[in-house]
Amino acid sequence: MTLLQIDWFFAAEKLILIAAVITGALIIAMYSTYAERKVAAVIQDRRGPNRAGPFGLLQPLADGLKLFFKEEIIPTHANKLLFVLGPSLAMLTAMMTSAVIPWGSKLELFGRTIELQIADINIGILYVFGVVSLGVYGILIGAWSSNNKFSLLGGLRGASQIISYELAMGISLIALLMVTGTLSLKEMVEQQQNGHWNIVKQPLGFLIFLVCAFAECNRTPFDLPESENELNCGYHGEYSSMKLGFYLFAEYINMFISGAIMASLYFGGYDIPFINEATLSVNTAAGLGAVALLVKTTLFIFLFMWVRWTIPRFRYDQLMRLGWKTLIPLSLLNMFITGALILWRSKSN
């Protein structure tokens, strides 16, 4: 069926995939809030939410419902357009990143081969970087338009933090790109499926990337933009109701996406460890691969939470010193060593 030179099946298939990914991301983000509270509780020898539904499983629904029923307040001195734009942008950019992540290999349904990736663009990882750096505008615009000193300080902190850590993140990624020789996430995952996971080749690079990912997601110990005790919740201090919910939600979606990206870049993406996918049927391999990716992502989300309930927040000067004086030189060193090794191996061959 071709109408207007468009393959409508292709469009439908992509639309379904987009809907599935967004729904999945939202559900995972919802249950991340539940998981966060449970993890916090068990780490602090408590029980956590257990009243709403069995094991408190309906708690995220109750929380969401509560947020919807809260009073919607837009401060009189706030710039109304930007005030609404802030959380929407935060949510939008959080969602957009999921477009280039390969969620599985491919399905064969009704004689069609369906790639389990919304867009396999050849600059996938650059796209991720572009969108993630847009993400800070959500924080910045919301903070600025609140017309509140604390919010503004939080926004400033967020912006300068993301600028500082994006550098180290990018440089650590350059080393990875030199090893893999591709910018497409799909190709990277396929390379890892056939060879070693990239974590073996780039352990230091992964460590730097991980630390930077914590900073990019505004997670403890880098949650300075929203530090409760000195900035009174920082950039979302003036927000209430579901607009606050959007900010909080965006943080959890970011966590999920960055977990998926780290799994794809360094831990083989949808590669199932110790199993050769070629022995399985295509559809089984795709299904199991998606599950493997989800498990890896969940482990990363758990790591994010585990770290949050272990270490306290950095002081602002410590954050800047770590970013500029430690991580950037380290990532440069990592890039240099990687380059030297590649050169040496190509010479010796």
């Binding site: 068990v42 780490i43 020898d45 408590r46 029980r47 257990n50 585990w306 770290v307 272990t310």
Partner: protein
Amino acid sequence: MATLTNRAKPVSRKPMNWVERIYLWNILKGMLITLGHIFKKKATINYPEQKRPFSPVFRGLHILNRDEEGRERCTACGLCAVACPAEAITMEAAERLPSEEHLYREEKYAARYEINMLRCIFCGLCEEACPKDAIYLSETFAPADFSRRSFIYGKPDLLIPDPKTEPEKFQEAKGLVDQRKKSKA
């Protein structure tokens, strides 16, 4: 300066070594500690379903006792009201009629017996003062209500269930009272 306890530890001021400065190792150690806490016994209990056992000397809301035949023990002598430091107890005495012998144990009884639970400090002096074993502090606590008025407990609120008409409820309430007696003896 002499220390008050022998638990004081001197503060270490030696500069951090290389491993400590990169901090990652210490983060890892901290994370292992928090991981260990995941498997520890929880300090919290599921409160309304599960309750912690009270100490045997716990002093909760009052209960007016009956004897085995279901007759009220209180004779309205007023000793509890005299003993009460918070002046929370009020009562009115009445004389038992010949037809009421199955209701009251002795010739005099309390027609009205009120304790203001907002005044009460739960010291238990009324229990100690009572010569007739008529008033006890039970293990019930934490009442909640919307008006001050409803915190003045009258006889219907205070009396233990009748062992003849409601034997199970009586035993339930009685069990607590007996436990307390045992621990005092």
